[in-house]
């Protein structure tokens, strides 16, 4: 019983981390109608930028404080992601207005290839350490109720709380600020938003910048867990089932989807895995999402797809 609870809690934590990446997908899809295959590459680029600048800035400016280095590295990486967002809007999105979903998907794949190569050219392709001061030792709780207690990774708890704070901040942003309202208007209907004077291009730059910020936070957390290396961009492949399970247009869907996928993955690996030979994590997540989609084809919280004939 204790082990089951541990697995579930571990799964929920992992799920929150997946939702961090899924958030970026949902934000971009909501506002520009593009399924951003390049989100994984953006996570990698942002994490590389932060890791390397946190290393370089103390050398250039000559100080020792790790906290200041990380903070400055974060700010520089954020500025870089805003430049990337501007470049994507200027060179890719504005040339592909009104194209079909598959074409936009392929364009984001092109962006992914470009960012992968560019990031590794600028920042190098080794494994870099990103240490933002998260305690990595596990903590044991509830050892009165279960013998030995439950082993919970403190790193994961930190990550989950950061992700939660991010979601709250984003929700407040979307509901209470003028820019947030404009973003929601664009997500509802591009043409209507344009006709009341919302500048579509600038909104896309803002959305991709916010998605870049989310990618930076996700990259920071995953990078401190796994180390910043090329395989970080493959974490996005694990976030796809989260996105389609929750619905492509829903932020709470990304969170709930992440929790379900995380839990399902860990439980299946522990209980189903040994029967099937192990290693079933990745396809089980997709099959789980597929089964949910068969019941609700638009995802749990997604917008119902209405066809007008």
């Amino acid at each position: 019983m204790g082990f089951l609870l541990e697995t579930i809690i571990g799964g929920l934590m992992a799920g929150v981390l997946y939702s961090l990446i899924a958030l970026g997908f949902v934000l971009i899809f909501k506002a520009s109608g593009v399924f951003n295959f390049a989100q994984g590459a953006m996570v990698l680029f942002a994490a590389l930028a932060m890791a390397r600048f946190a290393e370089w800035i103390p050398q250039w400016l000559g100080f020792e404080s790790a906290l200041l280095a990380n903070a400055l590295g974060f700010i520089v990486a954020l500025a870089l992601m805003i430049v990337v967002a501007w470049a994507v809007e200027r060179f890719v999105l504005s040339g592909l207005v009104n194209q079909s979903g598959v074409t936009l998907l392929m364009a984001t794949l092109g962006i992914a290839y470009f960012l992968d190569g560019f990031g590794q050219t600028l920042f190098g392709s080794e494994i870099y350490r990103l240490d933002i001061g998260i305690p990595k030792d596990p903590v044991i709780v509830a050892d009165g109720w279960f013998e030995g207690g439950l082993l919970i990774s403190r790193e994961d708890v930190f990550a989950a709380s950061i992700a939660g704070a991010l979601v709250v901040a984003l929700t407040v942003f979307f509901h209470s600020t003028a820019v947030g309202r404009a973003l929601r208007a664009v997500a509802d209907d591009h043409q209507a938003a344009q006709s009341i004077g919302i500048p579509l291009g600038r909104i896309w730059v803002i959305v991709w910048s916010i998605a870049g910020f989310v990618a930076l936070v996700a990259g920071m957390i995953w990078g401190s867990k796994l180390g910043v290396q090329f395989s970080l961009s493959l974490v996005a492949l694990k976030a796809f089932p989260v996105v389609i399970l929750g619905g492509l247009t829903s932020i709470p869907g990304a969170i709930v989807g992440g929790l379900i996928i995380g839990m399902g993955e860990k439980l299946s690996e522990v209980y189903l895995g040994p029967l099937l030979g192990g290693g079933i994590e990745i396809w089980f997540a997709y099959v789980l999402a597929l089964l949910f989609l068969l019941v609700r084809p638009q995802g749990l919280f997604g917008e119902k797809i209405i066809d007008r004939v």
Partner: protein
């Protein structure tokens, strides 16, 4: 002036319905086939065969199959690598477990096994649509990745999932030299291209295109979506399965599950989109582009005389690839096939401007 059909009158329905109604087109295709079947095997180098021609042919066959699904029926699929893998491993099992099983039959049986799984993984398309379906087909991709690594029986109990096809023999003739492999692939590609062209010209092709354009309206006028979508999955995965079997047997010789991973699926989708959705020529153009581009990009820094380390060259290649993809999609979102048909239209009017 040279591309007009003046004076070419059709006197019966049969000649009116031919695939190439214009005589100049027939002459051009005949010349192309003569060059491909006679001149190339005699003059091409081994490098040209094994690095360019055979991959081009096999991948254009796979792109043809994917075009049936994505271009003609409108169902986005990211699981094509899985169907290629199923075709390759099934053909391998038939070839090695049954003594004296003909090569042709094992390749076709590979396609048949891929068809069964194609229809199975196509069943979600009856309920899920658009980008959701695209991501859901990744389930097929990752399941196949896992299955060929972990289920020992499928790979004849090889420890790493890597298998080898051994000696190939067609009707008693050995398929050893690169020219012979090239001719085998060419034969398959020509036969399948004609088959697919006739399929999409017929009733079922029109059903697919109706489903692609507006599936609710198609259902309303009486096209059964189940039959249309599942038949598209079936035909597409058969062709892709045969292409996978050819890829493993003829091009690679020995392979492992990673050869048919998600990179392969994305590469095929690139070919179909860059070549042009919904066109037979498009599959060939796209395959040529994607096969030749990396070779060109890897030679390019050497021509310019720039000293680049291999990692830097690899990153530069990825960057240029990404930029070119985006450039092509902006400049001609309907693909190279559209550029080709625009060129033919201009050629009809040449030398007059309009």
């Amino acid at each position: 002036m040279i591309y007009r059909e003046n004076g070419q009158f059709k006197t019966n329905y049969l000649s009116d319905q031919q695939i190439l109604p214009i005589r100049q087109d027939r002459i051009a295709i005949a010349l192309l086939l003569i060059v491909a079947a006679v001149i190339v095997p005699l003059t091409a180098t081994e490098y040209l065969f094994s690095a360019i021609l055979v991959p081009f042919l096999v991948l254009s066959l796979a792109a043809l199959g994917l075009n049936v699904l994505v271009g003609y029926c409108g169902q986005i699929s990211l699981g094509t690598g899985a169907f290629m893998a199923i075709g390759a491993y099934a053909a391998f099992n038939f070839h090695t477990r049954i003594d004296g099983f003909p090569l042709l039959l094992s390749l076709l049986m590979g396609g048949a096994c891929a068809t069964v799984f194609g229809v199975l993984f196509g069943i979600p398309s009856l309920r899920i649509r658009g980008l959701y379906l695209a991501v859901a087909t990744l389930a097929a991709q990752f399941f196949a990745d896992w299955a060929f690594l972990r289920i020992r029986w499928l790979t004849n109990h090889s420890s790493s999932g890597s298998v080898s096809a051994g000696r190939l023999e067609l009707f008693g003739l050995p398929i050893d030299t690169p020219a012979q492999r090239y001719l085998l692939c060419l034969a398959f590609v020509v036969v399948f291209a004609v088959l697919v062209k006739n399929l999409v010209r017929g009733a079922i092709g029109r059903e697919w295109m109706a489903i692609r354009d507006m599936d609710v309206a198609a259902t309303v006028i009486g096209i059964r979506p189940t039959y249309a979508k599942l038949s598209a999955f079936a035909v597409s995965s058969f062709i892709v399965g045969v292409a996978g079997a050819l890829w493993g047997f003829v091009h690679l010789g020995s392979w492992e599950p990673a050869a048919f991973g998600i990179e392969r699926s994305l590469q095929l989708l690139f070919m179909v989109i860059i070549g042009g959705l919904g066109s037979i020529m498009g599959a060939f153009f796209g395959a040529a582009f994607i096969v030749i581009l990396p070779i060109f990009l890897s030679q390019f820094p050497a021509w310019l005389g720039l000293p680049l380390s291999t990692t830097a060259a690899a990153h530069l290649e990825a960057m240029i690839f990404g930029v070119l993809i985006v450039f092509f999609l902006i400049v001609e979102p309907h693909g190279l096939a559209r550029l080709w048909s625009t060129g033919k239209e201009k050629l009809r009017l040449w030398p007059f401007p309009h």
